[in-house]
């Protein structure tokens, strides 16, 4: 098994490396929104002193950490996999004795992630000099605690996206469904603004959804804004949602593959 993953890594890394110029474009594209949000909220905080207890520096540090968290926990499986179900090129992968989504596609996503993080590093350093965040509130224990959280969050997000992608077995409109799913993430993950500034109703719903585990929870954990109880609670929620995501994904995948009949069949 290890050998398989090693070989998959070599193949996928080489594949992603080919597209490094595209990757840089993707990074540019993805960077703009968080920077715009950062600018908007810091300008408000600068005028008022603070927004509901969030100072300008709180916003700067929040979005600076968000840039890293988002790169670690997000995935691109919809773009690399849905078309395979639609055009039938999945057939070739189905006859291999390994799970297409949990091996090759997963490694492909991680290779992509490694490259984007490499690209992000110098950009992040430049943004650090431009915005001058004060990270003095960060302690090492919290960062160490956040690493497993982000890894679990990546798998939760990956499995949920993989489940959404698998809807391509049933419908050709999977990209529209994914757009809706993307809007849910935007609404409930803390991507637009730290969750406490959201309307009460959205905060209440967000508590029970997995999306805040992808961004809001690890960011606040790293920034040292959470109490011990909240950290424990976040860990428990991560565990529960990981289990739910595994069951959810396998159900959809198993039923989907049964329905699958490649183009031309």
């Amino acid at each position: 098994m290890f050998l398989i993953f090693k070989r998959l890594w070599q193949v996928n890394w080489a594949e992603q490396w080919q597209y490094r110029a595209n990757l840089l474009m993707y990074l540019m594209y993805w960077l703009v929104s968080p920077i715009v949000y950062l600018a908007v909220w810091t300008s408000i905080a600068n005028v008022k002193g603070d927004v509901n207890g969030f100072t300008a520096n709180d916003f700067i540090t929040y979005y600076m950490v968000l840039l890293i968290c988002d790169q670690v926990t997000s995935n691109i499986i919809i773009h690399t996999f849905a078309y395979k179900i639609q055009d039938g090129s999945l057939s070739g992968e189905l006859i291999k004795p390994i799970h297409p989504m949990l091996t090759s596609a997963l490694v492909n996503n991680i290779a992509f992630k490694m490259l984007t993080i490499m690209g992000l590093t110098p950009i992040w350093a430049i943004l650090f000099m431009l915005f001058k965040p004060d990270f003095s509130g960060i302690v090492l224990t919290n960062v160490l605690l956040a690493i497993p959280v982000m890894m679990i969050a990546f798998f939760i997000g990956y499995l949920l996206s993989a489940a959404v992608t698998s809807l391509a077995f049933w419908t050709t409109r999977v990209y529209s469904i994914h757009e809706f799913y993307f809007a849910l993430i935007l609404l409930f993950s803390g991507q637009f603004v730290p969750l406490p500034l959201m309307p009460k109703l959205i905060q209440d719903i967000a508590q029970y959804l997995p999306f805040q585990l992808l961004l809001y929870f690890p960011i606040q954990l790293i920034l040292g804004k959470l109490s011990a109880d909240q950290i424990v609670m976040g860990y428990i929620m991560s565990g529960i949602w990981l289990a739910v995501a595994i069951v959810f994904f396998s159900l959809i995948w198993r039923n989907g593959v049964k329905r699958y009949s490649a183009v031309g069949a």
Binding site: M25, Y29, A39, V51, V193, L197
Partner: protein
């Protein structure tokens, strides 16, 4: 006259093409409404926490959202589909047929594909602008509204010209098929007044990829913040950028030598 006839012909063809995908159109409109809901909610969140954003009120930001949606519609309904077709035609050489037509090739390349259902977005955008202007507390004079409309149009001409330059670069660098990504990437910055951005970002969105020229600046005209001289400068810039774009397009065409040679 001939141009108008061609435009209406393009429009008809595109309506026919999109009628084949009626259900898709409905889904797309629903998604579009969802994003409008999100945009209004995000403004609501901002103004729950503050009274002004960079001195602008909620009404002004709704009007800005309308202007942003105008530009964004041009991006999605015109720039995307035509760029895709253009890049393809450079790669496979079908650009030959475009050049052979007895019509201005720049016009042909930039208007032959229109995502028709997006037209309704224009109505939505205008509605947002009207609502926003009415909500804004300051009284706006007819002159301010006129300069606002003029500068919105000239801003869109600036973006259009930049688009021409970007795709014309493909004549020199055939593999440059990421040509409009940079434009799309900075699009989101048009949702908020550029005046709240840090200086470096403001410089990028005003001078390099001038999204703000088409969004923030018309709104500033509406607020009566621009002097007459500034208004004329921006109008001049749009004329100049269009002239430059046409020149770049022509010299690009000279570079083009088909796909096989």
């Amino acid at each position: 006259m001939q141009t108008l006839k061609l435009l209406s012909a393009f429009f008809k063809v595109n309506v026919q093409m999109s009628l084949a995908y009626r259900a898709d159109t409905v889904v797309n409109i629903l998604l579009n409404l969802m994003w409008l809901g999100w945009e209004l909610l995000s403004l609501n969140i901002i103004f729950n926490n503050t009274d002004t954003l960079g001195g602008w009120g909620l009404g002004e930001l709704i009007a800005l959202l309308g202007v942003f949606r105008l530009v964004n519609t041009m991006m999605i309904a015109l720039i995307w589909p035509n760029t895709e077709k253009f890049n393809q035609s450079i790669r496979d050489g079908s650009m030959d047929y475009t050049i052979l037509q007895p019509v201005n090739s720049m016009f042909l390349v930039t208007f032959s594909r229109i995502t028709v259902w997006r037209i309704w977005d224009l109505f939505l955008a205008v509605t947002l602008i009207v609502i926003g202007v009415n909500m804004a507390e300051e009284v706006t004079s007819a002159a301010q509204i006129l300069t606002f409309i003029l500068l919105s149009l000239s801003g869109m001409i600036v973006i259009y010209s930049l688009w021409i330059v970007l795709i014309a670069l493909t004549f020199w660098f055939v593999k440059f098929d990421n040509n409009v990504t940079i434009l799309q990437a900075l699009m989101d910055s048009g949702r908020y007044p550029a005046t709240v951005y840090p200086a470096w970002l403001r410089i990028i969105v005003t001078f390099i990829i001038p999204i703000a020229v088409a969004t923030t600046i018309p709104l500033q005209a509406l607020r009566g913040e621009l002097t007459l001289a500034q208004v004329f400068i921006f109008l001049g810039v749009s004329v100049a950028s269009f002239a430059i774009a046409s020149r770049v397009w022509k010299s690009g065409l000279k570079q083009y030598s088909g796909a096989s040679s």
